[in-house]
């Protein structure tokens, strides 16, 4: 299989894929000893080739996606007869922001920052699959810990978590020894697949 054929396969998979297409998935489908780097560079070539097209390929949620460009959104909205507006309430966005930057985090810890009860909001975010249960914290009562999902990245058009706005400044402001903190947090996690 030459690279031209492989690129064709990738383009086709992008067209039919309902979710952002990951490199892993492509490797799995092609089922050949193809390096991830090769696939990645083919994705990048495709992105370049689409530069002049009405459609675009972009990196989102740890994968790649074939999608429209924002300059055509009015036409699409008229065609589909829909109106798209911001759908998350301020309370939901605030809760989501806290979870995104401080994950994994328990409900109590979020409430401590917002000083508001949030169980209803958490339920809504879980239903929308923007957050998930990541395990339980090893403290009294073993409260559940929450984190963001791949859908969260997709919903906000983020490539990965490090793509969050001002993440660097945020980390340096909150956790002085952030690397160590991360390790500690990892250690607190278990029953990872309990949901």
């Amino acid at each position: 299989m030459d690279t031209r054929e492989m690129k064709g396969i990738i383009e086709t998979l992008l067209f039919v894929s309902e979710k952002p297409l990951t490199i892993e998935r492509v490797v799995e489908v092609i089922n050949k000893a193809v390096g991830r780097d090769v696939i990645r560079s083919l994705f990048n070539e495709l992105i370049m080739e689409y530069r002049g097209c009405a459609l675009q390929i972009r990196e989102v949620a740890e994968g790649y996606q074939l999608c429209t460009r924002s300059e055509y959104s009015e036409w699409i909205k008229d065609f589909l007869k829909i109106e798209r507006r911001s759908k998350l309430s301020r309370a939901s966005l605030e809760t989501l922001a806290i979870i995104a930057y401080k994950q994994p985090i328990t409900r109590m810890e979020v409430e401590d920052i917002r000083k508001v009860e949030i169980s209803g909001i958490l339920k809504g975010l879980l239903e929308k699959r923007l957050i998930r249960i990541m395990g339980r914290k090893k403290v009294l009562g073993r409260p559940m810990m929450y984190g963001t999902t791949r859908e969260f990245l997709e919903y906000f058009g983020l490539k990965e978590l490090s793509d969050l706005p001002q993440r660097e400044e945020f980390l340096s402001m909150y956790d002085k020894g952030s690397a160590k903190k991360e390790e500690e947090k990892e250690a607190e996690l278990f029953d990872n697949n309990s949901h």
Binding site: F15, V16, S17, E18, K19, P20, Q65, L66, C67, T68, R69, S70, S73, I76, E83, R84, R85, S86, K87, L88, S89, R90, A91, S92, L93, E94, L96, A97, I98, A100, Y101, I113, R114, K115, V116, E117, I118, G120, I121, K123, G124, E127, K128, R129, L130, E151, E154, Y155, F156, G157, L158, P165, Q166, F170, M173
Partner: protein
């Protein structure tokens, strides 16, 4: 008027404090605690008067404020005034700053969300619209902005014009219909114009409660162009 609005006011005491700080153009690092406490309690009283469900967190914050206020009144030892003795407000300020930061981050997320709404994919678009059955209220204007507007409105009405005779005759459901009728065929309604004909406090308050109920039912959204700007009421689409 035995009507209790169980509006889920997700906005909490920190929101109210930030609202007051912004409104009074105060320095967050040097909050005049007496002034803030007084205004904070005024809002709580107003919420109580409206029979709004006040979350316990609001009361906890009220006592925290009072505690800080009393600590500030204690004479500090003159000698080591500069160096020693932590400012009793320090912890509160830290809390406010942390929360404010997350509010800003939430705004950035919202911008991303809006940008993302302009891009379409073949399938797999996370359809939040259809999953949406929760009780979240989308308001650009916060509940405190509304209370603030209501306060202004009530202050312009003089006491003596209020005659209790009308009390039983005005109901929230009547006012709900009234608001929906006013919105019929209009893009939006300004907060002022909604209340402009009323001469009587009870009528204003009942209409206000009707507005909150409509927001809770997601039949209207309330938006503001700028903080403390004019409030507009939109029929929800």
């Amino acid at each position: 008027m035995d009507y209790k609005v169980k509006l889920e006011i997700f906005e909490g005491p920190l929101d109210l404090l930030l609202h007051l700080i912004k409104k009074n153009e105060l320095d967050i690092y040097n909050i005049p605690i007496a002034l803030i406490t007084e205004q904070y309690i005024e809002y709580l009283d107003l919420m109580k008067a409206l029979n709004l469900d006040i979350a316990g967190e609001f009361l906890v914050m009220a006592s925290t404020l009072t505690l800080i206020k009393s600590k500030m009144l204690l004479p500090s030892p003159e000698v080591e005034e500069e160096e020693e003795g932590e400012d009793p407000r320090a912890e509160l300020v830290e809390r406010l700053l942390e929360y404010k930061r997350f509010k800003e981050l939430a705004l950035e997320l919202k911008e991303k969300e809006l940008a993302e709404r302009e891009i379409f994919t073949k399938g797999g678009v996370l359809d939040v619209d259809s999953a949406r059955k929760d009780q979240d209220i989308w308001i650009d204007a916060s509940i405190f902005d509304l209370l603030n507007a209501l306060k202004g409105l009530l202050e312009t009405l003089s006491e003596d014009e209020t005659k209790e005779i009308f009390i039983d005759e005005i109901t929230v459901s009547e006012k709900i219909n009234f608001i929906m009728e006013r919105l019929e065929g209009e893009d939006f309604l300004s907060f002022e114009s909604l209340f402009s004909h009323f001469r009587n406090k009870i009528e204003v308050i009942v209409t206000f409660l009707a507005l909150l109920e409509l927001m809770k039912l997601r039949m209207v959204t309330v938006q503001q162009i700028s903080p403390f700007g004019t409030i507009r009421i939109y029929q929800a689409v």
